[in-house]
Amino acid sequence: MRILNTVFGAAMALALVGAVPAAAKELKVGLGNEPSAIDPHYHNLGPNSAVASSIFDALINQDEKQRLMPGLATSWKPLDDTTWEFKLRKGVKYHDGSDFNADDVLASFERVPNVPNSPSSFATFTKGKTFTKVDDYTIHVKTAAPHPLTPNDLSQIWIVSDKVAATASTADFNSGKAAIGTGPFKFVEWVPNDRLILERNNAYWGDKPEWTKVSIQPIKSGPARVAALLAGDVDFIDAVPTTDIPRLKGDGDLSLSQGPSNRVIYLHLDHDRDDSPFVKAKDGGSIKNPLKDLRVRKAISKAINRDAIVERVMEGVAVPAGQLLPEGFFGVSPNLNPEPYDPKGAQALLAEAGVPDGFKLTIHGPNDRYINDAKIAEAIAQMLTRIGIETSVETLPKAVYFKRASRGGPDGSPEFSFVLVGWGAGTGEASSPLKALTHTYDKSKGLGTTNRGRYSNAALDTIIEQALATVDDDKRKGLLQKATEMAIGDLAVIPLHYQVNTWAARKGIKYTARTDERTAYAGVHSGM
């Protein structure tokens, strides 16, 4: 008996020594932007969808270049112009062991528009669609008008089980009670501002992730995040500050991954009010809003040295923009290039527009949302001041900025005159920025919802709406290109650059940069 015990003990010890490093693999992450909730239907925000993508699945998932991949749906096809059929994956189990079927999909779509207090709803993706169950593993989606982007829309909606969808509140998700998905990781615990813990879902239907546990620590400050990686406190960080990239590249113990995103950083100008609150004459008096004049908008675009911003502010880690999405995405125009820097031409245009001496302007921007956002605003102020548009800068934390920029003025109108903002095309094609930023503001149709300049052009609206309803891919592509060219020709917005994102990790850990900027933990590989 004693001998047996000893042998058994030794065997256990050996097993432990041998097994522990191989079986338990923890990934420690320093994350720049924390989600505002674990509830996947609460807030349509980059960091939220990033975390949700690890816990939940959508019918259609997106790969790192935002191409559509089978998710909980194995295949989908249009039956006619307004009906789509989705075949669902069989044998998928939720983290609590229950089975996935069509009822869950319908319940999730039902829940999306009814989440209370949602700061930015996912309802824009379910609006105008009716969902019917054909059998347990088939659903039909009917749209009011032909809607070719139905699969793209549905790739944005995370699926939860019907019993969770019926009763769970946002707080239930945040506490973990309802955070039950089908995704590659199970939710363990979330303490806001402190930690988020995930655990491998061993029953995942797809490729199982390498990590048995992921501990995510929010570290807002860029230098602090880099310092945590250098000190070995974390293995992997996102949003590496551009200033530190050259130094980290030279560090043999680290590896970086970098890739362009679908996010354009742009300026939105007041196209609507005649007396715009942050546009003043040189002597401080009021002036008829010159931003409504295309020549003035052209002058502003010409006065901005995009190469200098990319080179000096972004340390080369960005791509100058001439339209709303970078090259390679569906609907991007081959005819548009970034406006070349031409201060002389800009001054000539100002003179032509009747404001040869310029005017006074305030640029508003966030200071903690986009890469180097406050510095970009300051550089633009320099460049505009040089052609005579005396520009002052006001930067605000994102928590107050976006609310005021969207509806801080009287009657919920946009408060500012000239704003620095960014837009990531969630659907991965050109209709996303066109319909949100340049279509006439129309809340009831879900169009122009982020049009903070209240730009309105009936001809452009028609083409956008036509594109949204065109099923034929080639035709739609042509329409989107035409709409983009029109919007940029009239400078509905002034594009600056496309963001390039950088992740850094301990040597040996590999991550493929995603165009949607998400940090997907299942995509982190140790290479060992």
């Binding site: 860029g222 500050p241 200033t243 502010v313 006001e394």
Partner: protein, 312 residues
Amino acid sequence: MTALAEQGVPPGAPSDAVGTDQADTPLRRFLADFFESRVATGALVVLLGIVFIAVFAPWISPTDPYDLATVDIMDNRLPPGSESYTGMIYWLGTDGAGRDLLSAIFYGLRTSLSVGVMSGLIAMVLGSSIGLTAAYFGGRTDTLIMRVVDVQLSFPAILVALILLALLGKGVDKIIIALVAVQWAYYARTVRASALVERRKEYVEAATCLALSHRRILFRHVLPNCLPPLIVVVTVQTAHAISLEATLSFLGIGLPVTEPSLGLLIANGFDYMLSLKYWISIFPGIALLITIVTINLVGDQLRDVLNPRLQR
């Protein structure tokens, strides 16, 4: 024991040690005492130099760092000693927006000192009037005022300033308001303490018998006798105001980004610390350090000289 015995001399009693020189005026005695310390003299010289730079910044700075038309983003993050496009030398390098750091520090000192001194003076006038009133009238007025002071002092200064600025918005005037609001209580308390002692003295009684007005007694008779401790508090609080302003700017809620004070310059440079562009943070930091240390050294010496208990 001996030290205690020396300190046991009642305040205000004529001191034999200094009574020998008949031509000695209080001012001359004060100056002689002050310059006895080499450290304090040195600190005063440096401080005067800083004040000179702050006052004449627009004339002695190589460039105007607040003029967006001349600041060039192409010149940003240049190390100290680099040459600009126009051939000018950036002795301390440039910051992330392309400002000459030397000029930015000169202008930053100007902002920091003027904010510190302005808020110090306003808080002093306000605080000492309130303190005097409390001490002179006593009773309920005193209790009420001093409880308000207690409440005010029980909150951390930075917290009160943060809340005020969140409500008021950005700008130099708003920073001054916030700093006055967190500082007046110190003056009120100091002046009240010494005024309470003065109020019981015979000269006040005599003035009251002459039927002089309250205001005249307060400001012409009591206040001058409360000045020594007040002067010390002014120096300490000015240094405090400057560092508080720097803290607020560092947190990004003080002044506009295009007109950086020292705190904001340091905050901007903080982003570049790990990429080894040390100069953007270090030089404004040194300037701030020197300013605060010299003010404190001068203040310490003033305290020693003006405190009758420490009179040699």
